[in-house]
């Protein structure tokens, strides 16, 4: 298969667009069987469900007519979930019965570890053309015991001090900087095969985007009150659509993989229509249209992403493989951390 000249007319600098080929009907079947088995097994199957869901979405995400591949092992994910549940149960038991307030300590000390592991698990289990993604490059080498596990721990905890301490102290004024820094941190330590990612946005652009989003949030608050709550949904979606489009464009337009640069064409108006219709459909069908909404969203988001120049996609080289357990991945999910790499 030739990669050049597929899309665009200038062969030297053509862009390769991402494409999503998932179908709502097909995904509905997978989704409902996932939900059904998860309920019947009291949640144990949800690890398998997650893998099937991810395999479906990755397998339908095409770059230059080749699909991505998700390789996560459901057993590893189940093990991860059980460990996280065990730790959380122990901590809440200790908190309730001995009045020890461990949650804050747990947050500060375990979270960097969890984030590193989650990012690693996700990256290592994502592949394209049999070459895997990688997280953890460029971490300063550590010395001492269990060196392998704490690699990057210091850097990650420094980066976490920001949201835990400084964002509340500054009444949220540092939040845009934190979003910028999070993206930068993840990308600076990520690679596809042996080709590193890079991120060249400036924090100022994030401040501008979040300032406008904040104004739209005020519109949402005022609009909800004036319309006695009826306008809350459309106004909220307008705010979220603007934020997602603006921040998404900042994220992707400044992301490079080696010499390739991403481009992103998400529009507030499109995202508004997409999310509004999705929400209405989900409400009116009491959730039955969730798969349809998920497929439509993925299709729009991926179609809006492209890589340039397209000719660079053939030459990536892999690095050696390493095993990563799923604990971090699951904790990352449970604690609401989503790293959309």
């Amino acid at each position: 298969m030739t990669n050049e000249n597929k899309i665009g007319t200038q062969s030297g600098n053509a862009a390769a667009s991402l494409r999503f080929t998932g179908k709502a009907g097909e995904y509905f079947s997978i989704w409902i069987v996932n939900v059904c088995l998860s309920i019947l097994t009291l949640g144990i199957y949800s690890a398998w469900a997650k893998v099937r869901h991810k395999k479906y979405f990755y397998g339908n995400t095409l770059l230059n007519d080749t699909a991505f591949e998700y390789l996560g092992d459901p057993k590893a994910i189940l093990k991860g979930r059980l460990i996280v549940l065990g730790v959380l149960a122990t901590v809440s038991f200790l908190t309730n019965h001995f009045n020890l307030h461990l949650l804050g300590i747990l947050y500060l000390f375990a979270l960097p570890y969890v984030i590193i592991k989650a990012a690693r698990f996700n990256a290592t289990n994502s592949a394209y053309r049999n070459v895997r993604f990688k997280f953890g490059i460029g971490f300063r080498p550590q010395t001492g015991l269990s060196r392998r596990y704490i690699e990057g721990y210091n850097q990650t905890s420094q980066f976490l001090i920001l949201p835990v301490v400084l964002v509340p102290i500054t009444l949220g004024l540092l939040y845009p900087y934190y979003v910028f820094r999070k993206r930068q941190f993840i990308l600076e330590h990520s690679a596809f095969g042996s080709t590193p990612f890079s991120f060249d946005a400036r924090p100022g652009a994030f401040y501008l985007a979040y300032f406008k989003a904040f104004l739209l949030f005020l519109v949402f608050l005022v609009g909800s009150v004036i319309t006695l709550g009826i306008g809350a949904l459309p106004f909220y979606i307008l705010f979220a659509a603007y934020r997602d489009a603006a921040v998404g464009q900042l994220h992707w337009k400044h992301t490079c993989l080696g010499a390739l640069r991403f481009d992103c064409s998400w529009k507030t108006r499109d995202l508004f229509k997409l999310h509004l219709l999705n929400s209405l459909a989900i409400i009116l069908t009491l959730g039955l249209m969730v798969p349809w909404a998920a497929i439509r969203t993925a299709r729009y988001q991926l179609q809006g992403l492209s890589l340039r120049p397209a000719s660079g996609i053939d030459g990536f080289v892999a690095t050696e493989l390493e095993q990563v357990s799923a604990t971090g991945d699951e904790a990352g999910e449970l604690l609401g951390f989503d790293f959309g790499l």
Partner: protein, 338 residues
């Protein structure tokens, strides 16, 4: 003979090579194409599981792989190999409309049963298994918070205040477990004629409600209703039920974005309305039972409810579906059945 058109990746780079795969012998596959030619024992090939019509991968022992969209042909050439039965069954389930409908029915039925019976029953078990102190922790500082937000000191004459306190103390003496409950009188423009039960064992009654009651029986009925909320530990149970609902909600809608989950939250909210209406019914039953034991007409509760309705201008029937309280007409009917 079945052949599969596939793409070969050596695992060292993203370079793509077109190949053809076929069964060389019952136990061997052969992969032939641009610069690739090898054969491999079927037992050493690991296929990826079939998910919808996404491309299939065959992993070889040396880390290389083949990728193809021709899922049916892959299943055919692998039919002699030891493939995962579980994966095959799953795919079959997902690809037959009838089976999918069965999954839908099972899911809908278990969600309905779980939400209607399972969660409330479980929450009740857990709540009554927890020490009474749990409610106090939930209700800690609740009165202080309400005082700051919208309650003002009572303007009732001191004599009336004393009477009401005596009335309440008398009531709780013969309700087991309620002896340390206390009444607090407040006035409030915002909530009008109203009574609130705080989990710390406090019943708040507004001046407007006291003035609206045409006799003490009606006040006793309302107080019994509020004590019913406390005795049945509704605040704690509501907390437990709502957290369980969130878990169910996340499990079902886990794979959609946060924007859309706002829309998906509506069914969850409807269920929470149903839960609070069920609690109101339980508290009504507690009150009716108390009134019956003390030879007070059951109509006392409904009489004052009707009057509150008139005062606030709420209609008894509309919005029943969205209301946290059962429609007054429904409660009047229930009182007749007592």
């Amino acid at each position: 003979m079945t052949t599969v058109d596939a793409r070969f990746y050596d695992g060292k780079s993203t370079q793509q090579r077109k190949v053809t795969i076929y069964s060389e012998s019952p136990h061997h596959l052969r992969v032939v194409g641009e610069g690739v030619d090898f054969s491999c024992a079927l037992s050493e090939v690991r296929p990826s599981s079939r998910v919808g019509n996404t491309p299939r991968h065959l992993y070889f022992a040396d880390g290389s792989q083949c990728e193809t969209e021709d899922n049916d042909a892959v299943d055919e050439i692998l039919s002699g190999a030891h493939t995962a039965t579980f994966d095959r069954l799953l795919h079959r389930w997902e690809s037959r409309l009838g089976y999918v409908l069965i999954a839908l029915v099972i899911t809908a039925a278990s969600l309905w049963a779980g939400v209607t019976y399972g969660i409330p029953a479980l929450a009740k078990q857990v709540a009554f298994g927890l020490p009474a102190a749990t409610d106090r922790i939930i209700g800690q500082d609740a009165l202080e918070g309400l005082d700051q937000a919208f309650l003002e000191p009572t303007r009732l004459p001191p004599k009336r205040q004393t009477e009401l306190k005596a009335l309440f103390s008398h009531m709780v003496t013969d309700i087991p477990g309620a002896t340390d409950y206390r009444i607090e009188l407040r006035s409030s423009k915002m909530i009008g004629a109203n009574a609130l039960a705080l989990p710390s064992g406090i019943v708040v009654v507004t001046d407007a409600l006291v003035e609206l009651a045409s006799n003490d029986d009606e006040l006793i009925a309302v107080l019994a209703h509020e004590i019913g909320h406390l005795r049945q530990r509704h605040s704690l149970r509501q907390m437990l039920q709502n957290s369980a609902m969130v878990l169910v909600f996340v499990a079902v809608t886990g794979d959609i974005s946060s924007v859309m989950s706002l829309g998906a939250a509506l069914p969850a909210m409807l269920v929470q309305f149903k839960y609070s209406r069920d609690f109101e019914k339980e508290a009504d039953d507690f009150a009716f039972d108390y009134l019956k034991r003390h030879d007070i007409p059951a109509g006392s509760l409904t009489a004052i409810l009707v009057r509150i309705d008139k005062k606030t201008g709420a209609s008894g029937n509309s919005l029943d579906f969205l209301s946290t309280h059962p429609a007054t007409q429904e409660r009047v009917d229930r009182s007749r059945g007592q």
